[in-house]
C-alpha cells in the first residue's frame, strides 16, 4: 500500500537578491512520518519552513499540503497544521496561558480545557499563570510547542524544537513527538541541528545543503546503505597502514594513533587475523556504526570520519 503524501514541494525556490537560499527543493512527507529536515546553518531549512507556513513567498515552485496547493487553499491547509517557526515569540506582558488562549482564539478555539491540557502536555501546567517575560528559553520553547498542538493538527512543523532545552527537556519533547505520532497519527516535520536527536526521533530525513536537497529517504535505509565502520588501534602504524591498504580498507580518519576505517562487521575477524599475521600489537579493534551524523557530514562535505563505537 502506498503511503499518502501529506506534504510535497515541487521545485521550491527562494532567492534573496543574488542569494539562492532554497533551490528547486522537492520534499515529500508521508502521513505518519516524523520527517527530519537536516542542514548546516544557512542551508535553507528555516527558509523552507517559512515558505511552508506562508511567511515568505517562494520565488518559484509550489507547495502541496493534504493534496492541495497551499497558496490557493491557505486557510483550509493552515487549519490542519500546527507550527513553531524558529525561536517561539510570545507577548511578554501576557501569561503563558493567556498567550495560548489568544492564539487558540485565532483558530476559532475557545476551549480553555484544551489550553490547560496543552500546557500540561509540555510540562508548563504550574507556570501557565506566570507572565512569559519570566520564562526561560526552554520554557518558551515548550510553550511554542504547546501552541503548535492546540488545534490537534494532523501535521506539525517544528523548527529546532529542542533549542535551549536541557537534556531532560530534550528527552521529554522527543518522547512527546513519538507518542503523538504513534497514538494520534500526527505527522511531524522537524528541522534540527541535533543529528543524534533526529536519528533517534525521525523515521525519514531530507538533507539540505546550500539550498538543495541532497538526500531524502528513510533513516534506516540511509544508514544501511552506508558501509559499516570500525576503529583500530595497533602498532607499528606503518604495518597497520600496509595491512589495511592490502585489504583495500579505507581509512576515514586517524586520531591519536586510532584509525577509523570502513569495515563491515563480518570482516573484523579477518582483519584481526591479518594484523596478527603481520606481527602487529593490537590494542583495540572495535566495530562501529555509521551514524546519521557521519552520513550528514559525508553528504555536506564536512569531516566524514567521525564514528561511534558500538
Amino acid at each position: 500500500m502506498t503511503a499518502e503524501t501529506i506534504l510535497r514541494t515541487e521545485d521550491l525556490t527562494k532567492h534573496f537578491g543574488e542569494i539562492r537560499a532554497v533551490d528547486g527543493l522537492a520534499l515529500e512527507v508521508f502521513r505518519g512520518d516524523i520527517y527530519g529536515l537536516l542542514g548546516l546553518n544557512g542551508a535553507g531549512k528555516t527558509t523552507t519552513i517559512r515558505m511552508l507556513m506562508r511567511l515568505i513567498a517562494p520565488t518559484r515552485g509550489r507547495i502541496l499540503a493534504f493534496g492541495e496547493d497551499i497558496r490557493a487553499h491557505q486557510l483550509d491547509v493552515l487549519n490542519r497544521i500546527g507550527a513553531m517557526v524558529e525561536v517561539p515569540a510570545f507577548y511578554p506582558y501576557l501569561t503563558g496561558r493567556k498567550n495560548l488562549e489568544l492564539l487558540y482564539g485565532l483558530s476559532g478555539g475557545r476551549d480553555k480545557a484544551r489550553v490547560a491540557e496543552c500546557l500540561g502536555i509540555v510540562g508548563l501546567a504550574e507556570r501557565g499563570q506566570h507572565k512569559v517575560r519570566t520564562y526561560s528559553q526552554g520554557m518558551r520553547q515548550r510553550l511554542g510547542l504547546a501552541q503548535a498542538l492546540l488545534t490537534k493538527p494532523e501535521l506539525v512543523v517544528l523548527d529546532e524544537p529542542t533549542n535551549g532545552l536541557d537534556p531532560q527537556g530534550i528527552h521529554d519533547i522527543r518522547a512527546l513527538i513519538q507518542r503523538l505520532n504513534r497514538d494520534s497519527g500526527v505527522t511531524f516535520v522537524i528541522s534540527s541541528h541535533l543529528l543524534y536527536e533526529i536519528e533517534l526521533t525521525c523515521n525519514r530525513v531530507g538533507i539540505v545543503h546550500e539550498g538543495k536537497l541532497r538526500v531524502q529517504d528513510r533513516v534506516a535505509t540511509l544508514l544501511a546503505s552506508a558501509k559499516s565502520v570500525a576503529r583500530v588501534k595497533a602498532e607499528p602504524a606503518e604495518t597497520v597502514r600496509r595491512v589495511l591498504a592490502d585489504r583495500k580498507i579505507e581509512i576515514l580518519s586517524t586520531d591519536d594513533g586510532t584509525c577509523h576505517i570502513r569495515c563491515a562487521p563480518d570482516d573484523i575477524a579477518d582483519l584481526a587475523a591479518a594484523l596478527h599475521d603481520a606481527h602487529c600489537r593490537i590494542h583495540e579493534l572495535a566495530p562501529g556504526r555509521v551514524t546519521l551524523e557521519d552520513f550528514f557530514m559525508a553528504e555536506t562535505g564536512g569531516n566524514g570520519g567521525n564514528t561511534h563505537a558500538a
Partner: protein, 289 residues
C-alpha cells in the same frame, strides 16, 4: 472573512488593554483639557460674567484643540507600533501560521486603530464638555458665555446676537462642526502611522520616523499655509481654530465652504492612500523576523 476579522479584533483589543500604553495615554489628554480650563479659572478669577472674560466656548475649543493634538500624536504612535511591534517581537511567526490571511490581520489592525482613535476622540469631547461645565457652571444659560458688550454677543466679528441662548446654540453648532472636521485628520494620522509601521521591523525606527515626519509636516503646514492645507493633519487645526475665533468674538474668521471641503477631503484621500500603500507593503513583504 468577518468571523476571522472579529476574532483578530478581539485578539488585538485583548493585547492592547493588557499593556500600559493606553492607560498612560489618558493622563495627558484629560490633563490637557483640565489644565486649560483651570487656567481659565485661575487667570480670570471666579466671575465668569465679567465682560473681559472670554467665554466658555473659547476655552472649550482651546482645550479640545490641545487634547486632540495629543490624540493625533498617540494615533501616530499606536499605529506605528501596530505592525512593527509584531515584527520586532517575532510574533508574526505565531500569528500568521494560524488560519488567518494577511488581509484579515490588516483589516483587524485598522479597525483597532480606528477604535482607539474614536475612543480617545470621544473621551476628549466628553472631558472637554465636562470641564467646561465644571469651570463655567452647569447648564445655566448664559453663565459660561459672556457678552463682549453689555447684553450683546458678537460672532464672526459681524453677527451681533443679543439672545444668549441663541448664541449658545450657534457656538455649540460651531463646536460640533469643528469636532467633526477634526476626526478625519486623526484617523489619517493613524493611517500614516500604519504606513510607516508596515515598512519597518523595528519599533524604535517606526515610531521615531513616524513622529519625525508627522512633526515635520505639522511644522511645514504652519510655515507654508498655502501648501500646508494639503497636509493630512492640517485640518485638525482648522475647524477648532475657526470655532475658537468665532467664540472669541474679536476675529472676523469665518467658516468657508471651500476650506470645509478641503478639511475633510484631504485627510480622507490621504488616509485612504496611506492605507492602500501600507496594505500592499504588508501583504507582499516576507516575514523574516
Amino acid at each position: 472573512m468577518l468571523p476571522r476579522v472579529l476574532r483578530l479584533v478581539r485578539f488585538e483589543l485583548a493585547k492592547l488593554f493588557r499593556q500600559k500604553l493606553p492607560y498612560v495615554v489618558l493622563f495627558p489628554i484629560v490633563g490637557a483639557i483640565f489644565l486649560v480650563m483651570l487656567n481659565a479659572m485661575d487667570v480670570h478669577g471666579e466671575a465668569p460674567s465679567n465682560p473681559m472674560i472670554r467665554n466658555g466656548f473659547e476655552y472649550l475649543t482651546t482645550s479640545c484643540l490641545w487634547a486632540l493634538r495629543l490624540v493625533s500624536v498617540f494615533a501616530v504612535v499606536i499605529a506605528s507600533l501596530s505592525l512593527s511591534s509584531e515584527a520586532s517581537h517575532g510574533t508574526w511567526r505565531m500569528m500568521l501560521v494560524r488560519p488567518v490571511t494577511r488581509t484579515d490581520v490588516f483589516v483587524a489592525k485598522v479597525l483597532v486603530i480606528a477604535t482607539v482613535v474614536l475612543a480617545l476622540f470621544a473621551l476628549t469631547a466628553l472631558a472637554s464638555w465636562g470641564a467646561l461645565h465644571l469651570s463655567h457652571g452647569f447648564w445655566r444659560e448664559g453663565h459660561y458665555m459672556s457678552p463682549l458688550t453689555e447684553g450683546k454677543y458678537t460672532l464672526m466679528g459681524e453677527e451681533v446676537v443679543s439672545d444668549p441662548l441663541r448664541t449658545k446654540d450657534i457656538l455649540a453648532r460651531d463646536f460640533r462642526l469643528a469636532l467633526a472636521l477634526s476626526l478625519l485628520p486623526l484617523l489619517a494620522s493613524g493611517c500614516f502611522g500604519l504606513l510607516i509601521s508596515s515598512m519597518f521591523d523595528n519599533t524604535g525606527a517606526a515610531v521615531g520616523l513616524a513622529m519625525f515626519f508627522a512633526i515635520f509636516l505639522y511644522g511645514f503646514a504652519s510655515v507654508d499655509r498655502r501648501a500646508g492645507r494639503y497636509v493630512f493633519s492640517h485640518s485638525l487645526e482648522y475647524g477648532l481654530s475657526v470655532a475658537k475665533h468665532r467664540a472669541e468674538g474679536y476675529s472676523d474668521k469665518k467658516w468657508e465652504r471651500e476650506e470645509i471641503q478641503r478639511a475633510w477631503q484631504v485627510p480622507l484621500l490621504s488616509g485612504l492612500a496611506f492605507l492602500g500603500v501600507a496594505y500592499v507593503v504588508f501583504v507582499k513583504r516576507d516575514i523574516l523576523t
